[in-house]
Amino acid sequence: MTQAAKSSARPLSPHLQIYRLPLAAWLSISHRATGIGLTAGTLLLTWWLAAAAYGPDAYGVFSDFISSPFGLLILFGFSFALFFHLCNGIRHLLWDAGKNFSIEATKRSNAFVIAGTVVLTAIAWLIAYL
């Protein structure tokens, strides 16, 4: 902080720990968080494909891991993050096109993103296990 800012008596804007973030801001930071998580998840994707190239034994090791309770938990988290990043990413593309900037439209797209994530995750796992 510069000397000028320190000596100023002007009020400070609320710190992140005090300011209650609007829902759209939570979804925005979640977009980055899921992006980081999905990037880490590409290690799993690469493991799967490389294991197949190494042969049936290596593929079996991966299959055993991913079908274990811990593996399924990671896969569930990965799918949830993927669908969230997909739905929220579509919203960002529409924003980039200059659409849906009003508060009402943003509240609608908040609901679309959350509902889309939950519904797509549920559909994917129901189809996989029914």
Partner: protein, 131 residues
Amino acid sequence: MSGPSHSLRSPLGRALGLGSAKEGLHHWWTQRLTSIALIPLVMWFVVSLIGLRQSDWEQYTLWISNPINATVMILFLGVTFHHAQSGMQVVLEDYVSSHGTRIASIIAVKFICYALAALSIVSVLIVAFGV
């Protein structure tokens, strides 16, 4: 924005080749282009994974030997890793305050992403060609 107001350089002189406008537009465009491409590719990937959920090595080998499946998988991998490294770059630029650490982490993430892209694509080709 906070440039010295007493500078003798003209605003145009500061903007040309210097200033903020370097490759920002290209980076922005790359992120959007890969985003759009990933919408259908991700849907295909999820549907494929659901179809492959009970597969053993033989069944996977048969599936990836189909030229369409191998092609779309390689497209999905290339675009995914390109998208991942460009997104991670923005996150690191925004949150890592130390200049040296920031540059080092961006370089590391990009190297890792492209290494994983190469490994995964080569792996698909090895199985698809039955080498």
